[in-house]
Amino acid sequence: MPASRFTQTGNYRTKYQQDQTIFATYSEQISLIVLIGLLLLLPLILPKTMLRDVNMIMIYSVAVIGLNITTGYTGLINIGQAAFMGVGAYATALAATRLNLPFFLAIPIGGLAGALVGTFVGLPSLRLKYLYLAVATLAFQIIFEWGVGHTPLLAQGGAISLPQVQVFGVKATFFNHNFVWYYLILPVLVVMGLLWRNVLRTKHGRSLIAVRDNDRAAAAMGINPGTAKIMAFMIGSFYAGIAGGLFAYFQKAVVIEDYGLHISIQLLAMAIVGGLGSLPGSFLGPLFIVVLDRVVGGTSNWIGSQNLFPAGVDAATALRPLSFGLAIVLFLMFEPRGLANWWRLSRLYFKKWPYKF
């Protein structure tokens, strides 16, 4: 029985080319178009402060896709993704302020700078694995923070303000900032997501997964694991650099505090909670963590105002790291495949509906 191009209740693929399609059915294509259509309408209904959170989620999603490329798809632990974001942010800021480049050129320059530095930082991955590589990326995070802090060109970590952007005659001012940037970040996110889906179906993308699963077996099949690992770092850092450039413009100024170790940990948490090695997980992880942050923030305020604990016991402050830590531990224990697995299961349920799952 030939597979329907509209729906598929099972796997009817008979050729490798069918495995490599981005969209298996028309319904997948249509649902993505509908989703993007709905997302385009979102700013019209969301309050301004919530729109800011959505923008943050989208920027973090770009960075988490990058982290997923190195850690999720290639299996190289990276604890320095915020530093790669920072490289992109500072490169973007310099391109915008020193070279007076427009944002649509400055941000890709940030991506390229991230990729360049990422390639260099990825070199130890030729020799190091697992925790040792994690320490190497952690070292880069520390070196980055120290380097920026001691470079007068980068304001020693102080603020480098970015110029306001203008798109099709509309200038991003204080009052429409979130609105304008929503419509700039969303296409970038969609393009970056599709780009990765495209890369993943090429031999280069599949080689990353092969190296993750067993690098010796991959080498036996003719894949150069070293090249694959360096490429993973390069692409992952490119994504981080783009995210950094977007974040720099979105925050209106670059300051070192936005690219510290805690942000790297947060990005890693987003990737784990979302589901390592999953594109939908790269969107769901940031969504979960940002929403959790808002909920915990509100709860912290409430606890702080109630004086429930004796003086000296700052339970409100403890709540945030506690909740984040707990979320990561619970996901690792009970759902190591992250929210992406829930997404997969719910899709599967509706795919076979009304038949029993």
Binding site: K48, T49, G149, G158, A253, R320
Partner: protein, 395 residues
């Protein structure tokens, strides 16, 4: 009876309608990093604001006192700022962290919202984008230059080391300190960066000792400084080295953490302290703290007084703006605070003066030294650093 009720309801309604509500917002770290200072600061801002309402300081205006936690996260600070200005129409903004304030400068310039911060980083009021940013008291840089002047008076040619926080907050005064030291004939032997995870400072202190540094100036928060002092005591260096620090290094926060190791620590600050019970500002702070049932630790904290000063300056500026305190009016109110119109609520050791060019409020500061009981006692009167304006002219 019914007519009387209706009439009184109408009168009440018209009175309520005549009362205008203006938001006085603060965003800072009530939880998270530096919340030990931020929580007390927030309490000071909020309590003085409520006190102003109770005292009807602004005729016809009720203040909406909003203190919101940003968890020391710049993105949250921006989020709060957007909400305050775009949704609550706040005519003024009270900020907290250095990074958040630096990042907001271009937005503050664009929105023309006068801003007072709890960070006394001189870069906040340096050009560019500095028209609407103000420091309530003297900057960290001025604190440190004043300490260097004190050292030069005691011992010309002395060797001085700086220990600073590894952040813009910590590093910024180093340039001015170097310039001032050169002019004063002092030698800066080393600049070391120490963050909040300095559990063992033996190597650091031995290094400074080997360089012959006699005066150690800290630009940090109280926690790391307390750890350094405890290690210095363990290494028997307290008699050989004189430890000093800028505003956020000292006060009860330090003596609580460092115990008797804090003895003789010299602290530069512009604020009066809780123990100076005869000062009008401290009397008022105690009264307001008791009125709003704050804990003893909060009221004793210098950050409670600091929050009150920021709140008081903003409210005074609104008062000077008249019946319609918008951002432009508040700005005019702020820059009118000079000469005979300077503002002195009594929380700081000198009056608050601002002008279009002068964006530092209470410029006077004192040096205080911790005694054996953990109390800081003044060792100088209220003064301005003579050298600071030379090493850091208004930009």
């Amino acid at each position: 009876m019914n007519k009387t009720l209706m009439l009184s309801a109408l009168v009440s309604l018209s009175f309520a309608a005549a009362q205008k509500t203006v938001t006085l917002p603060w965003s800072g770290a009530i939880t998270g990093p530096t919340s030990d200072a931020g929580a007390s600061y927030a309490a000071g801002v909020e309590d003085y604001c409520k006190y102003a309402n109770a005292q009807k300081m602004l005729p016809g205006i009720t203040l909406n006192c909003v203190t919101r936690d940003d968890q020391y996260n710049n993105a949250n600070t921006q989020r709060n700022f957007e909400d305050f200005v775009a949704n609550l129409n706040a005519p003024v903004f009270l900020g907290y962290a250095t990074g958040g304030a630096l990042q907001l400068k271009s937005v503050i310039q664009e929105t023309k919202i006068p801003t007072l911060t709890a960070s006394y980083h001189i870069g906040i009021i340096d050009a560019p984008d500095n028209t609407y940013t103000f420091l309530p008291v003297s900057s960290y840089s001025e604190n440190i230059v004043a300490l260097l002047e004190y050292i030069a008076k005691k011992e010309r040619g002395a060797k001085v080391a700086l220990i600073v926080n590894p952040s813009p907050f910590g590093r910024d005064p180093v340039v001015d300190a170097r310039k001032a030291a050169t002019r004063l004939g002092l030698k800066i032997t080393d600049v070391q960066e120490v963050g909040g995870n300095n559990l063992d400072n033996t190597a650091l202190l031995k290094r400074l000792e080997s360089q012959g540094a006699k005066y150690i100036i800290n630009q940090n928060t109280a926690g790391p400084v307390a750890n350094i002092l405890k290690d210095a005591k363990r290494l028997n260096l307290l008699g050989k080295m004189q430890f000093m620090g800028a505003h956020y290094t000292g006060g009860e926060d330090l003596t609580k953490l460092a115990g008797d190791a804090a003895k003789d620590f010299i602290w530069a600050t512009s604020y009066y302290l809780y123990d100076e019970g005869t000062q009008p500002g401290i009397i008022l702070a105690k009264k307001i703290g008791a009125q709003f049932k704050r804990g003893a630790d909060t009221i004793r904290s210098v950050h409670y007084t600091s929050g009150m000063l920021a709140s008081a300056i903003a409210i005074e500026a609104m008062k000077r703006a008249g019946a319609n305190p918008d951002a432009a009016g508040v700005y005019k109110g702020l820059i009118s605070m000079n000469g005979s119109k300077s503002f002195n609520p009594g929380f700081a050791v000198g009056p608050v003066t601002f002008s279009a060019k002068d964006h530092i409020g209470a410029e006077s500061l004192r040096l205080l030294q911790a005694n054996a009981t953990g109390n800081f006692k003044p060792i100088t009167g209220a003064q301005r650093s003579a050298l600071f304006q030379l090493v850091h002219p208004v930009k």
